[in-house]
């Protein structure tokens, strides 16, 4: 090796220490296989409703191709204010309490960067979305996962947070409905958690990306709406899931002015602004998208009921998810690990579902099945999973 050649050790240590994503490992197994039914896709199977796509096209036709305000287009921030007030029952000032971001992913990153000093501890609940742990590690924070339990439908117990608190705890991250479990937060626990955050002076970052996808007639409630919480909460939301706009990469943060100011510092140098075409589409989504969202929600709900009934029926205990588009069946009775189960199911029956461990250690013994796929495919997937279980000798068939 010549003296001037770089070696991988040049990569920053805290980045080297981030393990490979379990999703990426599994993706490589699935990629290139023929005839796979995938329950592994974490995004809607619906196209973005046409009127929203058309608004994006119209914006391009009018020549709107410039930067926007760092905070986001004023018209979009006004629409967000109106929408958030009516949906979450929390009023944010569109002049200085709302920031438009490149998806909720960017919003999580800049919220953590704005808040965390090296060594600060961030509590989050597992199983959880894949980015939480690495996002905390990337800002030199200390990730502190707390467990959620199958018996609670993967809702979060305030006592679990209490056990994890230390003088260095600064932030609590929440995501309900949850990817990968579809869990919703029990309202009694939400009140206890809010009380705890106030007592212990914690900041809450709440990722509300699945909040429109609630079922059984329950109205969604965010912790930001709890008394005394607005001033210590960063509410994150976006367009990817409910409006089926994943590729538009658009989200937003609502928070007290001093936090939005701090996040804006990071955002303006890192991203400058969110894409203007996506912002134009987002205004249309918020102003006129409700009927399309409701139609998609009803379709997800039909699939949800079918998946919960079918998986429980074949002997895989599955909590009834109150939101999102995932079910998280318990595969422990098979004696296989999550990874073994997912790999063998893929090899034997060509069904792809992500091992629960891709979402943290608390996911061991579970499998994430996304039901954002056509009903015909879901029915076929269920037939195949049942056949696989029978081949293991643990099915009920």
């Amino acid at each position: 090796m010549s003296q001037n050649e770089l070696s991988p050790s040049v990569v920053a240590e805290h980045i080297q220490n981030i393990p490979r994503s379990g999703i990426r490992d599994f993706f490589e197994l699935v990629q290139g296989r023929e005839g796979v039914i995938s329950l592994g896709v974490g995004e809607p199977d619906f196209r973005t409703p046409w009127h929203i796509r058309e608004a994006a096209i119209y914006s391009l036709e009018k020549g709107q191709t410039s930067y926007t305000s760092n905070l986001g287009m004023p018209s979009l921030r006004k629409s967000i204010r109106k929408y958030v007030k009516s949906f979450f029952d929390v009023d944010y000032n569109d002049a200085n309490e709302i920031l438009v971001t490149v998806g909720v992913s960017e919003a999580i990153d800049i919220a953590l960067r704005a808040l965390i000093n090296p060594g600060d501890e961030v509590i989050y609940h597992e199983p959880c979305y894949v980015s939480y742990h690495p996002s905390i590690a990337m800002v030199h924070g200390v990730p502190v996962p707390v467990k959620t339990y199958f018996e609670d439908g993967f809702s979060l117990r305030a006592e679990e947070i209490e056990k994890a608190l230390t003088p260095k705890t600064k932030v609590l991250m929440l995501n309900f409905p949850t990817n990968p479990t579809g869990a919703v937060l029990d309202e009694g626990e939400m009140r206890k958690i809010a009380k705890l955050c106030i007592e212990r002076n914690l900041v809450v970052i709440t990722d509300e990306i699945y909040s429109e996808l609630r079922y059984d007639g329950v109205r969604h409630r965010s912790i930001a709406a709890e008394p005394g919480m607005k001033g210590r909460t960063v509410l994150l939301h976006g367009f990817s899931k409910a409006f089926a706009m994943t590729g538009f990469r658009l989200g937003y943060a609502c928070a007290p002015t001093f936090l939005i100011e701090a996040m804006m510092k990071v955002h303006q140098y890192g991203a400058l602004c969110a894409p203007i075409t996506s912002q134009a589409a987002a205004v249309e989504a918020l102003e006129n998208g409700a009927p399309a969202v409701e139609e998609m929600r009803l379709a997800y709900d039909r699939r949800r009921k079918f998946m919960v009934k079918s998986l429980n029926g074949m002997g895989l205990p599955t909590a009834d998810p109150g939101g999102g588009f995932y079910v998280f069946p318990d595969i422990r009775a098979t004696g296989l690990t999550s990874k073994e189960f997912a790999t063998q199911l893929l090899e034997a029956e060509n069904v792809a579902a992500v091992p629960g461990t891709a979402f943290g250690l608390a996911g061991e013994g579970f499998l994430r099945c996304c039901y954002a796929t056509s009903f015909d495919e879901l029915r076929e997937a269920i037939v195949r999973i049942e056949r696989f279980l029978n081949s293991l000798g643990v099915g009920k068939g």
Partner: protein, 161 residues
Amino acid sequence: MVSDPLLSILSRNARVSLESLADQTSLSVEEVAAKIAGYEKDGTILGFQTVVDEEKAGSVDVSALIEVRLTPERGGGFDRLAHRIAKFDQVVSCWLMSGGYDLAVLVQGADLRQVAQFVSQKLSTLDGVLSTATHFKLKSYKEAGFEAHQETGDTRLPVTP
């Protein structure tokens, strides 16, 4: 949008199997079959059809939308005459309209002459028909909710977070 999810699924795709309909509506197969039979009997379901791209199917049929003005009748309004017009085999759809004319009649024929003959000999000669205006269809972009040009297939990756 119809209120019964069964009807909303069937209006989009009438070929969904009874088993799948049962799974989608959390009903039993027997309940689904009985509901559909009930809807057929009481006329809520008028029929089942296949939506065909006529250009691709090589059809040379001619369609026309005819605006018809009528004299309303005491007691029955436009209904008696509208039913009478709707009964012709050539008539595919027939709607009472607001605005500058009364009935919109969608007519199909083997060629231009057949449609013209229907209008001049059958439709406009009916007592009560005041006038007709015939518009021939040139090209179809969407039929019964289905676009003639399909979008690209699923572009999603097989596994995503």
